[in-house]
Every structure is written in C-alpha cells, then in structure tokens.
C-alpha cells in the first residue's frame, strides 16, 4: 500500500504497543495520513481540495445533525420549523446559514477538485478507480443536496421536487408509476418530504463510506502530482506528516475564511428569495431555477426543445443530462494519451480551458429563463460538452505531440529551482 522507503510504524509507549496488537487504528492513521505515507514533494495548492471537500462534509454532518434536532419533517409545519430555527433556536440562524452555505462551499471545492483531476490527468492509469469512485461521490452529493433543498418546504423546494421527480416520468411506460412510487403520492407532499428527510440524513454517511474507498484506492498507487510523472525513488517524496498536514492545514484556514465571510456577510447570496415563500402546490414561481451547482446540467436538460429520432424532447433532455455525468465514468478510456499532466500537453491544455468556458456558459444559460438566446446557446454548449469528451479528447490524445518531459519529479523540481535562481540573478 505504499513505497518501500515509507517510515514504518514503531510504537514506543507500552499503551500504544498494546493498542497496536489489539486494534491497530494508530498504525492505520500513521500509514495513511502520517509520516508513514510518502507523497510527491511537488504538489501544488490544487492538491488541497480533497481535504477541503472532506472538511466540508464534516461541517455538513455536524450542522445537519444539530438542525435535525429542531426541524420537523411534516408538510404542515416544515416551513415554520425552519423559521423557528432562524428566529427562536439559540444560534439557530448561524447553524442553518452554515449548513446552507456549507453545501455551496462543498460543491465549489469538489468542482475545483474535479477540474484539477481533468487538467492533471489524475483519472488515468493507475488511478482509474479513484476517479470512478469520485464520480460516484459526486452523484451522491447531488442527490443529497437536492433532497436537502426540498426540506425547508418553500416554493423553490416544492417546485424543485416537482421538476426533478418529473425527470422520472420521462421514462417510457413505467415513468409515471415510478414517479408516484418515489413521491408516495401524485404530487410532492408529506410522504415525499418525510422520505427525503430520511434519505438526506442517510446519504452523507454513505458518502463518507465511499470517500474511505476513494482514499483507499488512492493510497495504492499513491498521489499523482503536477508533472504527472510517477514517483521513482525516495528523493521524489516527502512524508505526508508534517509536510502536507501543514499545507492542508493552511488550505483549510483559507477555506474557512471564505466560508465564514459568505455565511456572515451574505448568507443568502447563493439562495433564492422565492424559497422564503411557503410551498404552494397551485402556483409555480415565475422563474424556477435550481441551486447554482446544478445550472450547467439544468441547461443541458433544457437544451432539447424538439423531438428527434423516435424519442421525444422531454426524454432526450433527461437522457442528455444524466449522460453528461455518466460520460465521466468513461473518461479514463476516452483519453488515451500516456502523458497525464496538461503542462506537457499543449493541445489538451487549450481544450481544457475551452471546456471550462463551456461549462461556465452552460451554467449561465441554466440560470437564465428558457428563451432566446439562451436556448440556442445552451444547445450549442451542450453539443460542445459532449463533443469534447467523445470526439475532441480521443482525437487530440492521438495526434498531439507532448512537450519534452523531465526524467523524474526531482529533476522537474530542481530545474524549476535553477530557473528561479537564474531569473533572480539576471
């Protein structure tokens, strides 16, 4: 599970020796996140985001468990119980705003984590399983976030539940019975609210379990690094502790600063005013939009406004939206270039940034009303999104000429060091 030069765990204290024989948890921690886990010496700050995502999950679980002590999952009182948390419960406003914005922070760091993986080719062999498990975590996060957003039972909660469970009714023949089964009724109501609460409480622990698998799978080959060159010998690595515990600790500090700034100074910046109106099954808000982290996928859903082949527009939209995520499962095999890091892939680097731009434009379309020019723009960008993974990436990974690469991580680091020095003397 590690390199031969990893520092072995040798407990000195009799208690720790006793513990090591009975239940070697300290050994596990030492070898996973302590001095016993050698890590490439050249990781940059983009390698902080896994730990930050873990920190965000812990914040969500802690604040969420506290909120569940005051919240009532009943369609008659749910909205008022959230207002009770905001107005009456001691520090309730803080805990709820932390949970609300914690979800956004979780998605921000996870999106950065995903794009880090895309740029540096972290999804490639030997780390395909790490990537696949990551996509599973991403899907679980989306399900959890959606169900959490329904719980305050405001207008956006209700209509979000209506629209998202409506995806299932697009399935031919069995779609409507599936939707009724999921909701426990013909429209979102008490039955749906209760089960969403139950699952919203469960899924974060499932996510925690898959994160353990994600880290386990990562620790078999060890972390990748910005050069994409695999570790060759001891001088390419440093022990995780104290080097990366310190670097991650600094990252967590910056993360918390941004998080509290958002929570205290503009807690509703990323929310929707309509969700402070109690759910009304007879009136849809003029403009329903999901939370920002779903905008790009929502734009892909709405890009299909016409039937083609023998499938209707509604089903196309739903298929495309799920396919946009399912596609990520195939990424390790769509990109066949042996070079991981885009630092050495001039073509891939250009198309990586075009993809980033594409996703931002999709997000902007998803936020905007379903009219021109957004419909056309989302059609174009949705097509480009699929083209990137299915056409562009397989082609450039064959025709691209990578830049010359250093022989080892150490050589890359020392060359950079020499460059900096000569630049300083010049």
């Amino acid at each position: 599970m590690s390199f031969p030069w990893a520092k072995p765990y040798e407990p000195q204290h009799p208690l720790m020796k006793w513990m090591d024989e009975k239940l070697p948890i300290p050994r596990l921690v030492y070898n996973a996140t302590g001095p016993g886990y050698p890590v490439p010496r050249n990781l940059n700050y983009f390698w902080n985001f896994g730990v930050l995502a873990g920190a965000a999950l812990v914040i969500q679980i802690v604040t969420g468990i506290v909120l569940a002590m005051h919240y009532a999952a009943n369609a008659g009182v749910a909205f008022n119980s959230v207002e009770h948390i905001m107005r009456d419960v001691n520090a309730g406003w803080f805990i709820r705003y932390a949970h609300m914005n914690g979800a956004s922070m979780f998605f921000i760091v996870v999106y950065l984590h995903i794009f880090r993986g895309l740029y540096y080719g972290s999804y490639k062999a030997p780390r395909e399983m790490v990537w696949l498990l990551g996509v599973v975590i991403f899907l679980l996060m989306m399900a959890t976030a959606f169900m959490g957003y329904v719980l305050p039972w405001g207008q956006m909660s209700f209509w979000g539940a209506q629209v998202i469970t409506g995806f299932f009714s697009a399935i031919p023949v069995v779609g409507d019975p599936i939707r009724v089964w999921l909701l426990g009724g013909f429209a979102p109501d008490n039955a749906a609210l209760n089960r969403f609460f139950s699952l919203h409480y469960l899924l974060p622990f499932v996510i925690a379990g898959v994160i353990i698998l994600h880290i386990w799978a990562l620790h078999i080959p060890g972390s990748s690094n910005p050069t994409g060159i695999e570790v060759k010998d001891e001088q390419d690595t440093v022990p995780f502790h104290p080097y990366y515990t310190a670097k991650d600790g600094f990252g967590v500090g910056v993360f918390l600063l941004v998080f509290v700034a958002l929570t205290f100074f503009s807690p509703n910046l990323l929310g929707h005013a309509d969700n402070y109106i109690p759910a009304n099954p007879l009136s849809t808000p003029a403009h329903i939009v999901p939370e920002w982290y779903f905008w790009p996928f929502y734009a892909i859903l709405r890009a299909f406004t016409f039937n083609f082949l023998w499938i209707d527009a509604k089903l196309w939209g739903v298929i495309a939206m799920f396919a946009a995520i399912a596609l990520l499962f195939f990424l390790p095999w769509l990109d066949s270039s042996p070079v991981k890091s885009s630092n050495y892939r001039p073509l891939n680097r250009i198309f990586f940034w075009l993809l980033v731009l594409d996703v931002f434009v999709l997000g902007w379309c998803g936020k905007s009303p379903a009219e021109q020019p957004y419909v056309f723009l989302s059609q174009f960008c949705a097509a480009y999104y699929f083209a990137h993974f299915l056409i562009i990436l397989p082609i450039i990974s064959r025709i691209e000429r990578p830049l010359p690469m250093p022989n080892s991580i150490t050589e890359a680091v020392l060359a950079k060091h020499a460059d900096d020095k000569s630049a300083a003397t010049a």
């Binding site: 426990g184 429209a187 007879l282 849809t284």
Partner: protein, 185 residues
Amino acid sequence: MASETETTAGIEDGVRRRDFINIAAVSFAGVGAAAVVLPLVNQMNPSADVLALSSTEIDISAIQPGQAIKTSWRKQPVFVRNLTPVEIAEAKKVPLSELRDPQTIDERTKPGKENWLITLGVCTHLGCVPLGAAEGENRGDYGGYFCPCHGSHYDTAARIRKGPAPKNLAVPPYEFNSDTVVTIG
C-alpha cells in the same frame, strides 16, 4: 483418503446430497429475502389516506365564458375553463396532422358540454403549473396555457403546440352531476 470417499459417497446421478442441500438452502434464503424486499418497496407507494383524496366535487356555475378557475384534485391543480365559441372554433380549425399529440376538442370534452375544458394544471414536461387560468396571465402563443418553467405553449383545447412538453394537458376522469356541478375522480 477418508474425506474423499466421504464427499464422493452417495453420487449416483452426478449430484451430491450436499449440492442439493446448498441449492435448497440458498434458494430458500433468496425467497425469504424477496419476501422481505416486497413490503420495503411497496411502503413507498401512495398510502391509503393519500389515495382517499381521489374525488373532488366542484361548482362551476360562477365561471363565465372566457374565464377559468384553478382547483385541486389528489393534491394536483386542475383547470376548469369555460371556452368561448371563438376559442372552440379556433381549436376545431387546427388540422390534427399539425399536432404533436393529436386529439380533437370533442375527445377532450364531454358531448354537449364542449365549452367546458377540464384538465390537470400540470405541465406534461416536468410538472409546473402553466399560466393562463387566472385573469391577466400569459396564455402563450396559442391562447390556451403557457408554462413559464421551460416554455411550453398549449392551445385553447390545452393541446401542446410548442416547447418541450410531449403531451396535451391531461384530462382527468370526471362526470357532470348536473349542469353546474362536476365530480372529478
């Protein structure tokens, strides 16, 4: 060896007693597991109290031609609309071949009561409530209903004409109890 003669003992048709016991035990456990999954899946279906709300009576006497009301059946919105003769004529004028979900207005109303258009107020795309039932709301390009969520336009017979929705607004099962009272469900 003793164990070998033991395991091969009793073989007549290639099946050992132990094979039979293994298959029987695992199959029985599988049947038991399936029997437990059934109630766990079925509990998700609508409960008796949800199903009990399945019929609603409405008084339609106050709805003037050109007006509509919103009511609720099985917790879903229902539109009851009193069509004007012009709206009926407009709906009749459209050739069926132009429709995405071809249906005539007669198929969507009761005989002799074709001015009463009763549909669910649930967009067949993703379930928003279309606009157009209340006074002054946007009725879309075809004078019927307009769904603001994803831009579906319905005509005066509540048939889909433009936008992503695949079907016409659904007509719930209903009966006229008298000229002014309708039972839905």
